[in-house]
């Protein structure tokens, strides 16, 4: 791995973000809307439930963590799409840049955009709804670690799909987190799901984060099994995603798709 080349991939994204407010605002806008929407819903639920139960840490905390994952995934795919739109693959892959360095550059981009976006919504949630995500204590770091690794895996996986199918597959990148969300138990315990779906949910690392978060909020402890399952599964997904992307890269080189990327086929 050559750090200068990884930095080059990142620097290009930085140049794009620095000089274009529409790109820069994309880091905040959707996740801020999400926080506002769910913030007001939780406030309303607090009023109408009369139960004394505070929905804010349970629901707003969950949506903050979920948006963190989405931000990581989209940080990667958006950076890749910039190269799709600029038809830059030939320049990149005919240079000494390796595929591992390219992915690392995308990950670095995602880390920076995620820190900026997530930092912003933490402040919004604090100011508008009085929610402090740091009340989760050290567990927050563990939750973010699992979601970060799984977000990277999703981002790399969707990037591989776009690389294989061409620019027309761009749309696939956007709904993937939404497809997973009902099974991730963001707002409800996994026991709410039918048995068959519970099995699928248990294969998803975010499910352990959200189950764990509810456990921390109600019992102030986190079962080590949740933690191990979440960390272990997310690393497996990341390894799988990297192998998948590498395989797709070899396919597009073998078939010549990378040189005819905009044509979306070689025949």
């Amino acid at each position: 791995m050559n750090l200068r080349r990884i930095y080059a991939v990142f620097l290009r994204q930085l140049f794009l973000l620095r000089h274009n407010w529409t790109r820069f605002s994309a880091i905040f806008v959707w996740i801020t809307i999400d926080i506002l929407l769910w913030g007001f819903i939780t406030k309303y639920l607090n009023v109408i439930s009369h139960s004394g139960f505070n929905f804010i840490p349970m629901l707003l905390g969950a949506i903050l963590l979920w948006d963190f994952l989405v931000r990581v995934q989209q940080g990667i795919i958006l950076a890749l799409l910039e190269d799709v739109w600029a038809q830059n693959f030939l320049n990149y892959f005919a240079s000494p840049l390796t595929i591992g360095e390219y992915i690392s550059g995308l990950i670095l981009t995602s880390i920076v955009t995620t820190i900026v976006g997530f930092g912003f919504i933490i402040i919004i949630a604090g100011i508008l709804f009085g929610y402090n995500i740091f009340s989760l204590g050290l567990y927050l770091a563990l939750f973010l670690f699992v979601l970060f690794i799984f977000g990277l895996a999703l981002g790399i996986l969707t990037s591989g799909i776009v690389l294989r199918l061409g620019p027309s597959a761009e749309w696939i990148a956007w709904p993937i987190p939404a497809i997973i969300s009902p099974l991730a138990g963001i707002f409800y315990p996994l026991s709410t799901l039918p048995h068959s779906l519970q099995f699928i949910a248990k294969c998803l690392p975010p499910a352990y984060v959200f189950e764990g978060m509810r456990q921390v909020l109600s019992l102030k402890i986190l079962s080590p099994s949740y933690l191990l399952a979440g960390v272990g599964l997310s690393i497996i997904y990341l390894l799988f995603a990297y192998i998948f992307f590498n395989y797709i890269y070899r396919v597009v080189i073998r078939t010549g798709r990378i040189t005819r990327f905009s044509a979306e086929s070689t025949s």
Binding site: N2, R4, R5, Y7, A8, L11, R12, F15, L16, H19, N20, A86, Q87, N88, L90, N91, Y92, F93, A94, S95, P96, L97, T98, I253, R254, G256, I258, T259, T266, S267
Partner: protein, 249 residues
Amino acid sequence: MDKKTVLIVNNLIREYGSLRAVDDISFAVKNGEIVGLLGPNGAGKTTIIDMILGVLEPTSGTVEILGYDIKRQRSKAMEKVNFAAVYSHVPGNITVRQNLTIFGLLYGVKNLTKRIDSLLVEFDLREFASKKVGLLSSGEQTRVNLAKSVINLPNLFLLDEPTASLDPSTARLIREKMRSYVQKINAGILWTSHNMHEVEEVCDRVLFLSRGSILLEGNPKTLPQEHNKKDLEELFITIAREPLSLRLE
């Protein structure tokens, strides 16, 4: 490998299904040599260049650049190679200087700021340094691509119709610049062009391709006479229309 050889292409074959786009081609490019890769559209020129760049896998055969096998040591080989092609542009949504910075980092250029400053002067791009590439004229964009292609002082240049969108005066300047580069850093160039006057002016040797095979090879100044043709253009037209007549000679 001969010390003076920068590129060795050995028995290169590329098939797309039943179509053989490149058919068992072998050739070499030496230091300080400009080799023209000529042929009608679809003859396989760009496919060969793509395989040399490592962005297309050959069905069989090998490519060696400065002793590095492109299949196993692509990244190492590419540090000493660069290219400019009429169909490939640096991203238009960042400035000239930003592009040169990124490609300078990718190619491991030392003293990058100084190198970029000298390229901006050399390719007459100083006034556009802070302008987005997409806002430049096609000729100016070509100059940016050429500046990018020499940023790492490569030992091997792959130029796919590098002057196709330039006016005659700028095209001549670019030809002179590339020739002087070859002399200065003793690089080898593989140059494709449909401008036969250009080929005659810059190339030391040409390879004529037809349907994926090398049909003729020789000095562009003497090759037409050797085949009873008035000039290189007439020879080109013959190859494009009646390749069999030359095969039978």
